[in-house]
Amino acid sequence: MTSAHVTFGEVAAERRISNIPLSHVSVELGHLYMDDFEAGRDALRRQFERVRPWAETVTQINEGRVRRPRISTCFLIDDYFTRFSTPSVVIGDLLAASEAAGLRIDYIARESGCAVADGVPLAELVHARLVPDPPPGTNGSRPPPHESGWLSNGERSPSGGVDEAMGQVAAWLPPRENAARHHSIFLDVEMWTDEGDRRIWSCPYLAAVWQLLRLGLLRDDGRPVAVPVPAPDPLPDDWDDLPAIIQMVPSAPPFAAYTTMSVLSSRFLPVEHAVRVILGQVSISAAVLEQTVRRGADENLEIPRDILKRIGYAIPGEI
């Protein structure tokens, strides 16, 4: 007896994950707040001048490792916490200052785009993927205790008080980092606050989404999100009319990369610690993770599955 080989598929049952182009490294040249902007063009240029040697070092290191490194640069503007000036003025000043300092900015992103990019609620998508770091003794019996809007790297101190009438009074205990060896560095990060109907995401939270975008790890139902678009000409007058990420240099290597490198002043250290506490608890879709690792292998590169290992910094003092 012979049997026919039958294939049958249903479209609604298939999960397809888009591939997106990847560079080797995404270098962040800086992060612009209103204060920095108001300090003027010269201040901006000086800042870029101080960043430049670090950016060049990244290129040198990578040239030693891979034959033709693809390195893209990017710059993030805060239009989320404070709104200032207009895109055309701010971006014009930025480009002039970086050019004067001998730096090329390939992509410019706005911070609001980390909350909602072109209609896709990125911050919420990432929030749904949080898998909290379980304190020792967690066996799934009950959902881990959580404080709405907060995420920590360990166990909080019990809040004290009495649960039941005539029950025992709880004694104070110190908080504890889950991965502590001997001593703890406990950190509790505020991810958001609600103001009426509006959820305000915190700066480290949006910065965590920013890292995920730069690593090309986010998808919406398998589709890429916050895809860079060529800079509109002329630039709009309203930030809301600007796409989440715009491409300034047509020939630039891809925005997203296997790894990221951020050149930041040391005052951002606590923010980046918080970013890592958040990112360490985001579960990346296994399919996307696999895709990146396979792509790397095709280029003969070993890409660590652990995303924290792909995120690097240069953190000089006040620059």
Partner: protein, 338 residues
């Protein structure tokens, strides 16, 4: 910064797969329409609900992860700490039956101590044991410990039940359901272990209170195929248990027919057409299902029950016919002829 590839993958081979499937009735008056499934099972925004229409309506939620760090159950009582994640998902079959399914792969870990959490999230659905151990007896100890629900010397281990219960609860509380089911049914729980082996084996044990255990081997099939087999097994075991219960209660030898009908009706309307063993099982694992169907003979028992119900219903129709024939003079011949 990327570094050139190295070849070693680390770890200790495939490890063993352990999991649990809980099965119950969806809390809705009508069976859920196909187009509602994505809304009800969309538990992770940005991830698609997979749905199938053939041969029977079936949809699966995206997989969620749950973190654990606890002592695992071992048959010997040896302390083994496991850290990592379980995958869990919900599924709805025939718009009627809800399942919560959680699993993980137990593997020998890389370290003597706990690593940063990002390490574990990079291996979704894997629980790593802390400390290096020899391979084989150690796996058997974990598998036996996991399947044995009575041994109280051992650590309670990962609470798969709570995790399955959690995700099923989430579905049952969906705003798209009306929570008025046409009948009530107890849940069953299937605890399973799957080990990689060229030798084909399957065992199934029926316990009290709707608890079952099964132990199977697989040989190169993807993990997803193993999980689907276990879910299919759990689904049919639940159908059988529920129908048995309905009949036990609905057919006391001398009860009035109305009571019997009230009890049996929902089962006839909502369950009988759902029997489709192996419908979603990959071909290479089907022999396992088939051997289980030979002994203890799921399908045989199911057919017997269904026939019993049909006989009762036929009898009922006959009684009705003769009753109306007696009650309404002159309708006699018509009644018999039609």
């Amino acid at each position: 910064m990327p570094s050139p590839a190295r070849s070693d993958a680390g770890g200790d081979g495939a490890g063993i797969l352990i999991g649990e499937v809980h099965t119950g009735l969806l809390l809705n008056s009508a069976s859920l329409r196909q187009d509602m499934l994505p809304a009800v099972l969309g538990l992770l925004p940005g991830e698609r609900v997979r749905s199938f229409e053939r041969p029977i309506s079936h949809a699966v939620s995206p997989e969620l992860l749950v973190g654990v760090d606890c002592d695992l159950s071992t048959a010997s009582g040896t302390r083994v700490r496991g850290i990592g994640t379980l995958a869990v998902r919900a599924a709805i079959t025939g718009g009627r039956v809800l399942q919560g399914s959680a699993w993980t792969r137990l593997m020998g870990g890389h370290a003597e101590h706990r690593l940063p959490w990002s390490h574990y999230l990079a291996r979704p659905g894997v629980v790593e044991t802390v400390g290096r151990r020899r391979n084989h007896p150690y796996h058997a100890d974990l598998a036996d410990g996991f399947l044995d629900r009575t041994n109280n010397r051992k650590a309670p281990g990962i609470d798969f039940g709570a995790i399955c219960g959690q995700i099923m609860g989430e579905v049952q509380r969906s705003p798209y359901l009306d929570r008025r089911s046409p009948f009530k049914a107890a849940r069953t729980t299937l605890r399973w272990v799957a080990e990689e082996s060229p030798e084909r084996r399957i065992g199934f044990i029926l316990g009290d209170d709707g608890s079952r255990t099964t132990r199977i081997t697989f040989d190169g099939q993807p993990i997803s195929a193993v999980i689907e087999l276990c879910e299919d097994l759990a689904l049919h075991d639940w159908l059988l248990s529920t129908l048995l219960d309905v009949i036990d209660r609905g057919m006391p030898s001398d009860g009035p027919h109305e009571t019997m009908m009230r009890r049996i009706r929902p089962a006839v309307d909502h369950l009988i057409h759902l029997w489709m063993p192996g419908a979603r099982v990959v071909e290479s694992l089907l022999p396992l299902w088939e051997s289980l169907d030979t002994k203890p003979g799921f399908t045989r028992q199911w057919d017997t029950l269904v026939n019993r119900i049909r006989d009762q219903l036929a009898l009922r129709t006959l009684t009705l016919l003769s009753a109306s024939a007696e009650g309404v003079p002159g309708r006699n011949e018509q009644g018999i002829r039609s």
